[in-house]
Amino acid sequence: MSAGAELIRLTAADLADKLASGEVSSVEATQAHLDRIAAVDADIHAFLHVSDHALGVAADIDRRRAAGEKLGPVAGVPLAIKDVLVTTDMPSTSGSRILEGYLSPFDATVVARSRAAGLVPLGKTNMDEFAMGSSTEHSAYGPTHNPWDLDRIPGGSGGGSAAAVAAFEAPLALGSDTGGSIRQPAHVTGTVGLKPTYGGVSRYGAIALASSLDQVGPVTRTVLDAGLLHDVIGGHDPRDSTSLTDVWPSFADAAREGARGDVLRGLRVGVIKELPDSGFQPGVSGSFRSALAAMEAGGAELVEISAPHFEFGVAAYYLILPAEASSNLAKFDSVRFGMRVTPSGTPTVEGVMAATREAGFGDEVKRRIILGTYALSAGYYDAYYGSAQKVRTLIQRDFDAAFAQVDVIATPSAPTTAFRLGEKIDDPMQMYLNDVTTIPANLAGVPGISIPSGLAEEDGLPVGIQFLAPARQDARLYRVGAALEALLVDSWGGPLLDRAPVRGGVA
């Protein structure tokens, strides 16, 4: 195996150690990942844009390190950035034609913090247009392919970030999660994704889908790597009024503590009795149960809990999200930035706005704008948006009651393994139902993590287990996730991704 091929398979934590010790330079690590992108991304299509500046940034980190500057723990490690996050040096399209080539005059806070920490941006990753979807098939720039099976979806909306990490094109990636867009792609690609507590990570510079649900978070191959990235991007940001002012513990430390052992002993793990087995693929249920058995064997206590309102989550979500999105997406009107389509004849400003939005938005975006506009309309507001907000309150109460009994809740991360590209594209309802287990966390603002639990028996595709914790208890997810990860990797004899097909010839 070449030196570059070895570098790309390192975890971010191990790579960071080698960078710190001088064994590897950031330029070498960055070049290895750029080579990997060049080798496999024609098949995977995880990236919408690959940075021209990555090697320059890496060289600068190497110079600073050589000069004796004290750098952060992940300085020099490459990073992939979901295209929903605005960047000054690369276009930010949010997967939409309407923003093709758009250059932001400012960096998203998470990007600015990543740069300040010495992470090396490799490029921007593919996503469903404006983060609307569970498959990346709604990207205006074509779908991303699942590294486990190129005919299958990599999840969505952040399929690009998850596939990039799973295909060893980047050790770390940034994602955003409005209803599962970090966790469901992690589930179908055998990777780790965490949606922080709402307000735990700044939304400034994340192109808004649904402001009250959106959270930015880490997409990685290990729980520790997620913690390292979360430590970089998290914490209060005065530019985001919904950002919490809490002082957070180190999530990397929490992951290390979890991996050492004892946290499963006496841990009360809630299993929701209302989540029906029907609708869940047998291999998904099977993997979930064996992961729970492993936890039980490790000393955890399984507790059946009731969350009677979760079943209304999808319905409420698909009212709140389109409502907020219909307003958030109103700014894309061609007047100040982005695509402009001028109809023939004597165009009015309204005509230009309408023609631009007609040409610039894809079908799913239009569908949700129409739904949301309707849901907010006078006379319907109470019945739709108002009722959905009530459901949200009820789901929050379900969580409160559950967390009075248990430390974490466990669910399968999604009902099925990766489905085939095109399989659900014409059936929005089926697509929406894929988010059934991830949506409640967004509605309640609580954190959730998905880690690989194994492969589904019937199709050999990855399955994830999701843990949910009370708001502000993100560190608990890192401890529990790392503990189970250690048990499972041990039982598999290596990381799950070792079982993924080799791509690009060298890995």
Partner: protein, 504 residues
């Protein structure tokens, strides 16, 4: 524009009862905008004072300006309102190119202040209580300039220019309840109400309150209902019109009067009033239809998810309450006594909406009498001639400085009026105008004596007449000297010098 048929005002009032209501937008004079750190400026180069959120750039987020919240609470308290322990921002969604986000962040069902009242005083001292429904915070839109086309509006324009400097400037919108029983004084109450709001925001120091600049804008709602014989139940409220953005106090009064006369003519002829916004035309003194407006205008309001509720502490509210200036009515009584004005003199100032200006001029060093004289005299004369608001023409500090120059003998009254003209034209401070226009009184006796000797030489008999005791003969020489000096001489000094030359 078709001229509407109007009914005589008194006749209209015989047939109908007017019900009025007002929405006044006050631009706050915070340093930065309502939701961004961009400067809250006026008159700067277009599209320079901007932050990402003012343009609605992708990824941008609003952050509430704390000073604007404090100003809004102070204003709410001064309006006698209750302050909501928790209020929320909401998005008002509509597409228009002056809105960077295509929604305006406003407050909807949870305003920061509600249920208040203000007492306004009419020209004869009558006091009227205007009930306040609410005062809420919001952001201003950008400024559109429509180029080409005949109407100056977006329809028919060849193209439109938009300046987002104003986008995001903090506003408080003060909404009255319907005001009943105003009768024939409705127009006067309208004007007095806007004057009172202006006095309040100026005394709070929270707005520059220049109507001409749009710091203070009034939308006037007017409806009429038929009168019924005593004892019978009142008719329901008539259909209202909303005349938008009336930008002077005079115009508010005229617009309300006009709408009463216009609506009365339509109703009396058996017609009906269209619920709509109307535009006020200062030049013709008329209104014209804007857009149809119904109560069901659908702005798809919903709580702004990017912002937290505004939850002012009880301590903050108490602190702001303790710092409130005295109420306008009390203040008027106090100022009248302090300034020693007669009833008529004080009314002239108050009715001109010039209380704050006169007070500020006195504070800047002028005597009450001179401050009053300038504001109700020359400045009001110029304002009326130009159809503008006196308060918008000149800063009180400049008026005080002008009077100071008169008192020091640098300017005669006549020269001072010329200097004032320069100040109004934007030529600078009084001293700068004097320097640029070369307007100061010639106080160099040498120059005066030369001019006197020249004048005496051409009128050789004058000196003899003066010596004979006919002192009034000096007048002809004074006139000649003043003419030679182009008016820039102190006539009294010229007279003294002539008499000296004559050995008197």
């Amino acid at each position: 524009m078709a001229k509407h048929k109007l009914m005589d005002f008194d006749e209209a009032l015989e047939l109908f009862e007017p019900v009025v209501g007002f929405e006044v937008h006050v631009e706050l004079n915070t340093k930065t905008k309502m939701f961004s750190a961009a400067p809250n400026s006026f008159g700067r180069e277009a599209n320079t004072d901007l932050a990402p959120v003012d343009l609605g750039l992708p990824g941008s987020l609003p952050v509430v300006n704390e000073q604007a919240v404090k100003f809004s609470i102070s204003l709410g308290l001064a309006l006698g309102c209750q302050i909501a322990p928790s209020s929320r921002f909401a998005r008002k969604n509509y597409f228009y190119p002056d809105l960077g986000k295509n929604y305006q962040i406003s407050q909807y069902d949870e305003p920061i202040a509600f249920e208040g009242s203000v007492e306004v005083e009419l020209s004869d001292g009558t006091r009227v209580v205007v009930p306040i429904e609410r005062a809420h915070m919001e952001e201003d839109a950008g400024k559109l300039t429509h180029v080409g086309g005949s109407t100056g509006r977006i329809q028919g324009a060849e193209y439109s220019l938009v300046d987002y400097n104003r986008a995001g400037v903090p506003l408080v919108e003060i909404v009255t309840k319907p005001i009943y029983g105003t009768e024939h004084r409705a127009p006067e109450i309208a004007k007095a109400y806007v004057q009172t709001i202006r006095d309040i925001v100026l005394s709070l120091g929270i707005s520059d309150a220049k109507m001409e600049r749009g710091n203070l804008r009034c939308d006037a709602n007017v409806s009429l209902r038929p009168r019924v014989p005593a004892g019978e139940p009142a008719e329901p409220l008539g259909t209202r019109t909303e005349t938008k953005n009336v930008n002077s106090m005079r115009s508010v009064e005229r617009a309300v009067r006009y709408e009463i006369q216009r609506q009365a003519a339509i109703l009396a002829a058996g017609g009906s009033i269209t619920q709509e916004t109307r535009h006020w035309h200062e030049d013709t003194g008329t209104t014209s239809p804007g857009r149809p407006k119904s109560d069901a205008d659908d702005y798809r309001y919903f709580p702004e998810p990017d912002l937290l509720p505004v939850v002012p502490s009880a301590e903050l509210i108490d602190e702001l309450r303790a710092a409130l200036p005295e109420p306008p009515a009390e203040r008027r009584r106090r100022l009248k006594t302090e300034w020693g004005f007669s009833d008529q003199e004080f009314q002239d100032v108050a009715n001109g909406g010039l209380l704050a200006e006169v007070a500020a001029t006195i504070e800047a060093g002028a005597t009450p009498a001179s401050a009053r004289k300038w504001w109700t005299g020359e400045i009001t004369r110029v304002a009326n001639a130009q159809g503008r608001e006196a308060a918008d023409l000149v800063a009180p500090s400049d008026v005080a400085a002008l009077q100071g120059l008169v008192d020091a003998g640098t300017l005669t009254d006549k020269l001072a009026r010329q200097v004032l003209e320069g100040v109004i034209l934007g030529e600078g401070t009084p001293q700068q105008v004097i320097d640029q226009r070369g307007l100061a009184v010639v106080s160099d006796d040498g120059a005066l004596i030369l001019a006197i000797d020249e004048a005496l030489a051409s009128q050789p008999d004058v000196m003899a007449k003066i010596r004979d005791g006919k002192v009034q003969a000096a007048g002809a020489v004074i006139g000649a000297v003043m003419k030679a000096m182009k008016g820039q001489a102190d006539a009294a000094r010229v007279r003294e010098l002539i008499l000296e030359r004559a050995g008197q």
